[in-house]
Symmetry: C2
Subunit: 365 residues, 2 copies
């Protein structure tokens, strides 16, 4: 099967680029001497997980309990569920662990900490620390962090943080500074809790940009990153990786040329309505358009509008193209996590237009 | 099962509101004497289709061939695939029709028209007309419309148009004007082609806003609309329906209160990144937050930020709420078509918090 034969829209995953991205991050972490706990929230695929876990301890990170169920069912046991757990979700975690998984939860909340401590299953927990993003997490200087540790008691096994604000960094130097905030907050929290007598085995931090640009990871016991595997235009814009290493594209067909416009069958569902590059140095609309080989034959053609099933391509005037109805194109996504989530499989290529594998992906909750 | 027991995030569908919306549009169309061909791209559910088809001829509209496959497999035969078809998709249409379906395609393109005419299966086609949106469709004054009719030959059975620009209308009077443009373009195209000797049985138009506000539908043989069934904040803002008739909400749990913030487990995947209300009179961020009963106990609390799995709620200062971790809330969506697409089922309620049914929905391509 070749790309030209595929139904559109669909996801294409370039295995060579994927493996290059995986090797790149693995090499960085090896130099830092810190193991990777890959975040599978972007790829949501056991096939990708197997590639990224080569040479790593074997634990992963997930963003939903549905991901935990999926990966556990495929033999991955050591799972960090890295979104604040509610008391109502603990029974599901307990059932997963009873069936052989080893799911650790996170919390920044006294009520949740009490529920974790009181649950009959011995569910391990990390305290989530805010390293400056102001999303989830307690501040390391607050007394709340000690209170949470007390409430969790023996269930407490470590601390974690995520520098989501690294996505707002607009230079390598700035992201390196945010990486140091991420590292130092996690390490400080661990030191504080150890000084208070708590056993802190896990000091976990991570994001793709900070992984790429951190100067040191001293004191961390593991690093989490996910989107770098597939890559996207936004990550390229903030220099997590080059634009030519984006492994994920949406294959689409030209479905109309009315009035000279270029309509494609990749719209808001196939691409997502993510507009993250709006705030980046280059705004790619809803995605950057390549030819079926993934080559920049269309220059800076972008998807300017996205209706539910229609995309409207704005051509680059320096790259005039005929693009008759039926022409297949590939769109580089703004944000891989959101684009991939509309699709149930990857059509895998290996540097050519031959489809060498179909990898299922899971979605939902 | 009650709402409080459901895993979050998930979709809740209020059947009373759904049925009210369905009755409302059916009543309008009955007064116009025009049958409904409901667009199932929003609901993507056979259970919703059965409700909306009561008292109608039985044909539906879809936006993907996957929807056509799904509804045909559930016994709905008369299907309009209302996105420009590519030559490469005709074999799938032919297979569907061989298996008993009756799928009609649309085109605005000479190459596609030739492929339809040349296909061994006798696939019926409508010519898509542009009534001012400047998305798909030929202009009614262009010679291209006659050329397409000639090329399609006996496969031509009608014309269709969609006033997507009714979504840009900001008053009932303006939407009524756009409705008249939609109607008159379809009727004019039909008259022109009939005068040229073509048999035009189908004159199809529609969108939810123009359905609601059209003053006349004279000359149309069918009307298409979809999002009005579930409703959303954007449609409420442009007065397609009232805000209290939105039948679709996302049930979510509070997952953290760090620094007094309200984090919920409905983020960019569960809600979508659609920001259509940004351009509406009231900007609801990523959605308007209600209590678990769907009541406005939180005033104008909105989801201000949407990360992959985290939403951040901005509370209404006039409605201070405690909202401890685990509290369940419901979020009214900006755009039902996109929000629903991340979910594989509806939990159906009937005016109370009791779940009376679970209706699967299909997604993807």
């Amino acid at each position: 099967m070749r790309l030209v034969d595929l139904p559109t829209p669909c996801l294409v995953l370039d295995r060579q680029k994927l493996q290059g991205n995986i090797r790149g991050m693995a090499g960085i972490l090896a130099r830092h001497g810190v193991p990777l706990r890959p975040h599978m929230k972007t790829a949501k695929s056991i096939d990708v997980a197997r590639l990224v876990l080569e040479g790593q301890p074997g634990g992963i990170t997930v963003s939903t309990l549905a991901e935990a169920e999926y990966f556990a069912s495929h033999g991955i046991k050591d799972i960090l569920y890295a979104v604040g757990v509610t008391p109502g979700k603990l029974d599901q975690v307990a059932r997963l662990n009873e069936s052989g998984a080893d799911v650790t939860v996170i919390t920044d909340d006294p009520l949740a900490a009490d529920a974790i401590a009181a649950h009959p299953a011995e569910i391990k927990a990390l305290i989530e620390v805010d390293c400056g993003e102001q999303r989830g997490g307690v501040l390391v200087a607050e007394d709340l962090i000690s209170e949470l540790a007390e409430r969790l008691g023996s269930r407490l096994v470590g601390v974690m943080t995520h520098a989501g604000h690294s996505y707002q960094g607009r230079s390598v130097a700035e992201i390196a500074q945010i990486a140091e905030l991420e590292r130092s907050h996690a390490v400080y929290a661990a030191q504080r809790l150890r000084a208070e007598g708590h056993k802190i085995a896990i000091v976990s931090a991570g994001s793709s940009p900070t992984g790429r640009h951190a100067e040191t990871m001293t004191g961390l016991t593991e690093f989490r990153a996910g989107v770098y595997m597939l890559g996207d235009l936004f990550q390229a814009e903030i220099e997590t990786h080059g634009r030519d290493t984006i492994a994920l594209t949406v294959l689409t067909s030209v479905i109309g040329r009315p009035g000279g416009r270029v309509l494609i069958d990749a719209g808001a569902l196939a691409l997502s309505k993510d507009r993250s590059t709006e705030a980046a140095p280059t705004d790619y609309g809803f995605g950057l358009v390549r030819d079926i080989q993934g080559e920049p034959a269309l220059g800076q053609a972008i998807v300017r509008k996205a209706y539910q099933e229609h995309g409207v391509v704005e051509l680059d005037p320096e790259f005039p193209m005929e693009l008759p109805v039926g022409t297949k194109l590939r769109v580089l996504p703004n944000h891989a996590c959101l684009t991939a989530a509309a699709h149930d499989r990857y059509y895998v290529v290996d540097g050519t237009d031959e489809v060498v594998a179909v990898w299922p992906r899971m979605n939902g909750w």
